[in-house]
Structures are given as C-alpha cells and as structure tokens.
C-alpha cells in the first residue's frame, strides 16, 4: 500500500484565487493511498519545503505530489527538498494547478474539480514511480567546431587556450569565412583582414587544434560528452604535406575564367586555386568541376610544373571519424538572393531591382570586394559593367529585411552600419562621388555606432533618403533609382552609376538539413534555435551542442566573437568534470519478451539501441534481442510505442504509470 503525501500550494493568491485549495486538500486526503494532504500559502518557500520534509518523516511517505505551478518551474526545487528527507527525487511529482488551471480558468467550481483530477492523476502516477538514480557517463574532452569563420575561429582558439583538443572543420579551402571578404570594419574602419589573419594563422599553428578545410561534417551520432562524428575530407587533389604553396600551379593553370566565389563573382580564379592570397592553409585545391584533367583527361599542367610532386589526381574523399564531447556550430550566414532564383517559396526576390540583368546592381559583399585591396579591382571602386569609376552610388538598405511581403520579417541588424561604412569608404576613395542611402530607419545601437553614422552624414556628405525604392531602370549608361522620400512625402529619382543593395542576412542555404543531421532545432527562418532566448542564448536544446555567430541570428563581428567565446566557456565548463550526470529517464528492454523485431532499433532518433546476442554458457547463440545504451538514450520513448510486445519501457513514463493516469480520469 502506498503512502502518499499531497501538498497544495496557494501560490499566494495565484492559485487560491481560482482553486478552492482547502477543498482540494480535503478531497485529495480522501484518495486511496494518501496519508496526508495539506495546503499552504507558498509551498516553495522554506517553511513550505520544511512542511514536506517533516511530513515525509512523520508519515513515512513513499511518494509526494506537490500541486502547485508547472513542473518546468519548481520540479527541481521540490525534488531537491524530498532528497533532504532521504526520499528518491523521482518519487516526487508535481500537479500543475497554476499554469494549467488557476491562471486559465475562471469558474471556481470547475477549476477546483479539474485541480482534484490533476492531483488524482499524479497520485496514481507517483504510486507507481520507482526510485531512479542518475546515469554517469564519461566525457570526451575534445570539441568539434563547425565553421571556420570568425566565430568558429574564436571558439576554437578559446577552447584550445583552455587546454583542450579542438577539431575545426571548414567547408571552403581556407578558414576566414565572410569576415575575410570584408574590406574595413565598422565603426573603427580598421582593415578586416589585418585583424583576422593573425587569428587564422594561430588556428593553423596551435598544436591542440586539428584543422580540416575543404571538409564537411557528414554525421553526428551520440550525445553530450560522447558524440561520434564523421567528417568528409573532400579530395583536394593536392598533397598538403608536400605542397609549399609556391603558386606555380595556379599561375600556369589554363582555366583562368572561373568566377571567384570569394570575390562574389566579380573576379576570376583558376581551377587549381587558393581562394585568396592570405588563405590558411595556403595549399591549393583542384576544383574538379572546372579542371580539364577531370573534365576531359587533358592538360595536367599543374602536375608537370609542381616541382615537389604534390599534385595527386587520384586522391579520394576521405571519411574521418572522431569522438568529441561537445560541438560548437558556427556555420555562418548567406545573403538573401535578390534575383528571380530563390531557394524557397516564401522569398520573392526583387525582380524590380534588376539584379540579374544589370551588372551595375550589386550586393554589399560585392561592394566589399570592390573596396578591398585584395579584390578584383585592387581596391579601386570601379563598376563591373565597364570599369568606370562611379560618380554617384545609391545604397539601398533593408533589401529583403523587414519586408514580410518578400518573405523576411526580421531585421538583419548589421546593414545600417555597413551601408554607412560603404558610403563613407566610397567617399574616401572617390572624393567627387556622391553616395545616396535609401533607408527605412537607422538602427545604430552599439558602442560608437551612432557616432559612426553621424560621421558619415556630417563629415562625408552621405545623403540619406528615408524611403523605399520601387524600381531601378537603365537610362543610357546610368541607372535610375525610383523611390519615395517619406520625409518630404515626395517621389525621388536618383541617377546612379552603381547601385549597392544591402541584402538581408539569411541562414546558410542547407541550414535546415544540417540541423537535422546534427540534431538541433531551427526556427521558422532557418536560424538555429537557442535553448532559451534570454537565459541560454548559446546553448541548443540538444545538450552538448552550442551556437556561435550568425548561424543563430544576424550578428555583427563583435557579437559573433562574444558568442563564440561564450560557447567556448560553456564547452570548458562541460569539460571541467570527468563524468556527466544524466537524468535516468531512459528506456530498458525486457529481454525475456523481446522478439528482436528491431522496431525500436529502427526508430531510435539517437541510435541508442542495438542488437544483443544471448548465448548459453557454452557460447551458443540462443536468441537475439534489443539493448538500450543508457548513456545514449535521451528518453523520448519512441521505441516504447513502437514495440509490439511492449518489451521496452521508459523509466519515469512506463506503461503502468501512464495507464494509471488514464484510469485515474476514469472515475465518475
């Protein structure tokens, strides 16, 4: 016979206002197995907790139901309290009579009836609860950082500085990410590459960091402290151990007209290439889609000119398997495509801006490349169509951002600042040029940001026009930008030699698939979801996986770096202990009744269930069954429902408990 205590919280007036707590206590006291039932003003207070602790001793309770707020609020509180009385924490359950009852109902009688039902349900459940004990699993103190942009670099460096091994994986042939493509950075106008490249070099040099460039994370299995990852090292066709980066190969490569991704299509690269001069590592890769050797089995010049024999056309993709304890996701962002081709139905693009048609309508990153000394124009601002120095440039902010009709509601956060920077840098390079900025609002919240924008207007004569651009058309060799000036409530037309669109920051184009692959959640826009928007901004809902940089939301460099360091410190916190305590809400197979249909094995989202052989003492195989690795089981219970013979049970939510809850509602 069970000995259950029911403790009913008034939560001040929060519960007592709607639920008749005295009656609830009285009715709960009548339930079979309930030895004591009391109500109190604040059960979570010290006196309230003490009341529970005393009752456990006094009535020799073997189960506690606290009828109060949501278990998401105070379950840890009350479970910790019962532990102090020597009770196993899993013998304490909460009936949610606040969020699910008093706060949402007005009819006192019906709300009280409901509260009685909720208590009855939990009393029946707790009668069948079993003592559970935390599961301890070892932690692999090695981190995986996915993405070699500034966020990934920062996270990797910080974790390594903490004394732990790091694997850094970057898709491109070089680390650096989008920051490496920028010319100068706001609000200080210091050279982006100048501040970034030392860190890139450090990443390559640090013995604790293993760097895989031109590589992608293919598979993530396991759980916090114990992930197993597979990394695909794409064939570089160049042996990095031998290559000294002399450049003979790319200088001699006959395929010279391949649009450079790094230069956002404004410049060219060869088929064997390093994306930019300061690339880390400085080893070229062969782009097999454009290489004559691979396309037609001709050429082979690079192999001929390479004095060290580093070219290896036979090189294959390689799968690298690694065990890591934590993962930092820093996969960055893309830009909203403004042409007709869109990756999804929601995004409509800006056909009216003729980005696809007019060469002189470019986006922000292209303009960065035009400004950059390492860019296609060696830092001279020349427009793509004819190489002329534009005498007037129209910058259009919020292209994509804050435009629900085009599919994006959010603000990309950095555009206000970088259009100001662009206009300013343009003016610094073309002294007689006139920059115009079309904007909706100027959002310059940030240290020295507002001052920076003011400088653009006051010192560099940037003309801000508040309004949206409705269309852009060509007139002669100029572009006519038609827009509204909402301050003067008039129509404006600007003749510009070049138009720069500040397009929205969007999630990486395979962000959703990648999230699925590694087991984290995406918001509706495709940015990765943090565990809590305020209190857990760098963690994901999947324990052991953290976020850094713009993969979580649009961010500027300082924010990305700050988050990366925060993620790194979370990783170090995790690595500060040797073992991890996990909740014992895990599945277990009854090997007597299991018939090895393998349903559970197939459905387990964590691959936590495996085949097990049962052998007799002579070693002969008798039968096969399924077995749960409780270190990997996350306790979803999908296997339990999939088992036809009910041979898998989930601790804390076993069938007997659930049925008892249903039956508790069967009373009349």
């Amino acid at each position: 016979m069970s000995r259950i205590g029911v403790f009913i919280c008034h939560c001040g007036e929060n519960i007592a206002r709607t639920v008749d707590c005295a009656r609830l206590a009285e009715e709960s006291g009548k339930l079979p197995g309930v030895m004591v039932s009391v109500d109190y003003k604040y059960m979570c207070s010290d006196p309230g907790q003490n009341m529970i602790k005393r009752a456990i001793a006094e009535h020799k309770l073997d189960g506690v139901v606290v009828a109060a707020c949501s278990p998401h609020m105070h379950e840890p509180t009350f479970r910790a309290a019962v532990v102090q009385s020597g009770m196993n924490p899993y013998l304490c359950e909460m009936a949610n009579i606040r969020e699910h009852c008093s706060w949402v109902h007005t009819d006192r009688e019906l709300a009280t009836e409901k509260a009685i039902d909720l208590v009855r349900v939990m009393v029946e459940k707790v009668k069948r609860n079993q003592e559970l004990f935390p599961i301890r699993v070892p932690i692999t103190k090695r981190a995986l950082v996915i993405g070699g942009g500034i966020a990934g670099i920062q996270a990797a460096l910080d974790i390594a500085a903490g004394g732990h091994e790091v694997i850094l994986v970057e898709r491109q042939p070089s680390v650096g990410g989008n920051m490496a493509r920028l010319s100068e950075t706001f609000p200080t106008l210091d050279c982006s590459q100048c501040i970034l490249t030392p860190r890139m070099v450090e990443v390559a040099r640090d013995p604790r960091i293993t760097l895989y460039t031109y590589a992608e994370v293919e598979e993530v299995e396991g759980f916090v402290g114990n992930f197993k990852v597979k990394i695909r090292q794409k064939a570089k066709s160049v042996n990095a151990d031998i290559c000294n980066g002399c450049g003979d190969c790319w200088n001699k490569c006959p395929m010279k007209k391949i649009p450079s991704e790094f230069d956002a299509g404004l410049g060219y690269r060869t088929a064997i290439y390093v994306p930019f001069p300061q690339a880390v590592p400085n080893t070229p890769v062969i782009d097999r889609e454009h290489c004559l050797k691979f396309l037609k089995d001709k050429c082979g010049v690079c192999a001929k000119v390479c004095t060290r024999g580093a070219i290896d056309y036979e090189m294959q993709d390689e799968i690298i398997e690694a065990e890591v304890g934590a993962i930092v996701v820093a996969t960055g962002y893309d830009l909203y495509g403004i042409g007709k081709e869109q990756p999804n139905e929601r995004w409509k693009g800006y056909g009216e801006y003729n980005y696809d048609t007019y060469k002189d309508v470019i986006n922000g990153i292209q303009f960065e490349r035009l400004l950059s000394a390492s860019g296609p124009t060696q830092g001279e601002v020349r427009r793509p169509s004819d190489g002329k120095v534009p005498k007037s440039v129209a910058f259009i902010a919020c292209v994509g951002s804050r435009d629900p009709e085009k599919g994006i509601e959010y603000c990309s956060k950095i555009c206000c600042m970088y259009v100001a920077k662009h206009a300013m840098l343009y003016k610094h390079k073309v002294h007689d040029g006139q920059p115009y900025i079309f904007y909706m609002d100027i959002r310059a919240g940030g240290k020295n940001y507002e001052e920076f924008v003011r400088r653009a207007v006051e010192e560099d004569g940037v003309l801000y026009i508040r309004g949206r651009v409705s269309k852009i058309y060509k007139d002669g060799d100029q572009l006519v930008v038609v827009g509204a000036d909402t301050l003067s409530d008039s129509q404006v037309q600007i003749r510009a030699d070049l138009v720069v669109l500040a397009t929205a920051m969007v999630p990486h184009k395979n962000a959703y698939e990648f999230a699925q692959k590694i087991g984290i959640a995406c918001g509706s826009e495709g940015f990765y979801s943090e565990a809590h928007p305020k209190l857990r901004p760098v963690e994901t809902m999947t324990a052991g996986i953290y976020l850094a940089g713009a993969c979580q939301a649009p961010k500027d460099i300082p924010d990305a770096v700050a988050q990366a360091s925060a993620a790194a410190s979370k990783v170090q916190l995790l690595f500060s202990s040797d073992e991890l305590e996990r909740e014992p809400i895990v599945a277990k197979v009854n090997e007597v009744t299991c018939v090895h249909c393998r349903n559970c094995i197939r459905v387990c989202p964590y691959s936590a269930i495996d085949d097990k052989e049962i052998r007799d003492r002579h070693g002969n195989l008798i039968r096969m069954v399924a077995e749960v690795n409780e270190g990997m089981c996350m306790g979803c219970g999908t296997c339990v429902a999939a088992c036809p013979s009910k041979s898998v049970q989930l601790a804390g939510f076993n069938d007997e408990q659930v049925f008892a809850e249903i039956l508790a509602l069967g009373h009349e």
Partner: protein
C-alpha cells in the same frame, strides 16, 4: 508439378541440405489439406499441391516444434513468400537459412478466396526453386475495391457494422495464432501489468483487441487472409487489413512483402509525410 516438388524435396533431404520440408498433405476432411513436415526422403510422396493448400506455412518458422527440426525448405505460394519477406525484413529468419520451393498459383479455394482475384504474386517474387508455369502478374488490379465500397457507407453505418462484428468475437485469438507475422512470444493481449487489452470478450474489450490486432499488422500484413479464414465467428478481418494496407500505400507509398531491404513504414518517416489531419 507435384512430381517435381517431391523430386526436389527428396533431393534436398537426401543431400542433407535441408532437414525438413514443410508442405501440405491430404486432410481427412473433404477439400482440406494439412501442413506436413517431411524429414525423410522416403516420405516425400505425402506431399501434395492443390487448390486447397490454404495454410500460410511461413507460420511455422518461428515455432520451436518446427525450428528444432533443422534447416527447412518450404512450399510457398506468392502470398506466403511475401510473409517470408516480411519475416526476413523483421529479422525473424535469415533468408539464407531457408529454402523456398515457390509454387505458381492461380488462387486457392472454390470459390476463390477473396485475396486471390487481387493477387499480383501468382508467381512468387522470391524463391530458390520455382514449380509450375510462370504466371505474369496482373496489371491494374485494385486491391482495395472492397474497402472503397465499404467506405461509401456513412460513419454511423460503419460503426454499427463493426460493433456487431466485434461483439461476436470470442477472444480465442485464432486470428493471431494463425498469422505468420504475429510472432511475439508474449502478445500485447497477454500483458496484464498494466492490462493493455481487456481480456473479457465484451464488445468494449473486443473492439480494443480487434483494432490493435489490425494496427499491429499495419504496414506488415501481406493479405494472406489466414486470420479471416480461421476466425470461428466469421469476422471479416481482411477488410480491416486491406484498409490499413491502402492507408500505408497511399500515405507512405509502401507495400509490405515486396522488398526485404526497405524499412517498415512505421519505423521510418519522411519530413513531408501527410499530416492533413493535424491541427
């Protein structure tokens, strides 16, 4: 045809490649056959093949009385082979550990059982040896015509129909025992802590049992019709099975018993699975 089967059975038993040939012999009642387990080459003459070879012999693989005899060869119609395919898929047997003596089949029973006119495996899809002339699969058959006709009834009529049918159920579980795919050693119906299905054969318990029996075969049932053939009170169980087969085919593009490599549909998912019923 039976001569060739007997010859092959003899050969397999003599060489020791198999220890038992699971087949049919003449029954004692008219128009019946009985499963037979031939372990000696001298007994192969007992094997027969005719229109009354109803039983799905795949049922016997998982039975210890038969498994203990050693490696089996089995005489199997196309529909029986589908059951074998599912058993392999669900790791109950290893394909290489059995020998399938496939028989082409134009249908069993007089008149034909309801599964036969909608059969597209007159020639088994998997076998080690085939007996009988190959029969090309029929094209364009509607496997759920009876389901669609029944669905034209109103919900009230449907409820009334099944309530009456299920009220007759005597909970003998013959449907389960005769099913080659009901291989659980302890069935959910036998679980009493907690009591999953009320064991009493009142209509409420009967409804639960019959829904769950059908449900546990959803995406697995290969429509051999053995449950319906066995049911002593004549509940049209195949109609339920076919409804679920239709559901699985329409929703998940899956038909059980055709491909042992595929993941069974209820252990698999697609992000774009239909969810028109979810708010």
């Amino acid at each position: 045809m039976i001569e060739q089967i007997r010859e092959k059975a003899k050969e397999l038993l003599t060489s020791g490649e198999v220890k038992v040939v699971i087949g049919y012999e003449n029954g004692g009642m008219p128009e019946t056959t009985r499963p037979v387990f031939i372990t000696s080459p001298d007994e192969v003459e007992r094997l027969i093949w005719n229109k009354h070879c109803y039983a799905n012999l795949a049922n016997f693989f998982v039975r210890k009385e038969v498994a203990s005899l050693g490696k089996p060869a089995i005489i199997a119609k196309g529909c029986d082979v589908k059951a074998i395919t599912v058993l392999v898929q669900e790791s109950q047997i290893k394909r290489e550990e059995i020998v399938i003596l496939g028989v082409t089949c134009e249908g069993v029973g007089e008149p034909l059982l309801s599964k036969c006119p909608i059969c597209d495996v007159n020639t088994p899809r998997d076998y080690n040896f085939l007996f009988g002339k190959e029969i090309a699969p029929k094209n364009g058959i509607n496997k759920s015509a009876d389901v669609e006709e029944f669905e034209r009834k109103s919900p009230e009529e449907r409820w009334e129909f099944w309530e009456e049918q299920f009220s007759r159920c005597i909970k003998c579980y013959a449907c389960r025992q005769v099913c080659p795919l009901c291989y659980c050693e302890v069935c959910i119906a036998d679980k009493n802590q907690p009591q999953w299905i009320e064991t009493s054969s009142h209509t409420r318990g009967n409804v639960h049992w019959n829904l769950i029996r059908a449900w546990h075969l959803s995406g697995r049932c290969i429509d051999c019709g053995e449950c319906e053939r066995a049911c002593p009170v004549g509940i049209p169980l195949s109609l339920l099975n076919r409804r679920l087969a239709k559901s699985v085919k329409e929703r998940f593009g899956y038909e059980p018993g055709y491909d042992q490599e595929k993941a069974p549909p209820f252990t698999d998912f697609k992000q774009e699975d239909s969810q028109e019923f979810i708010r």
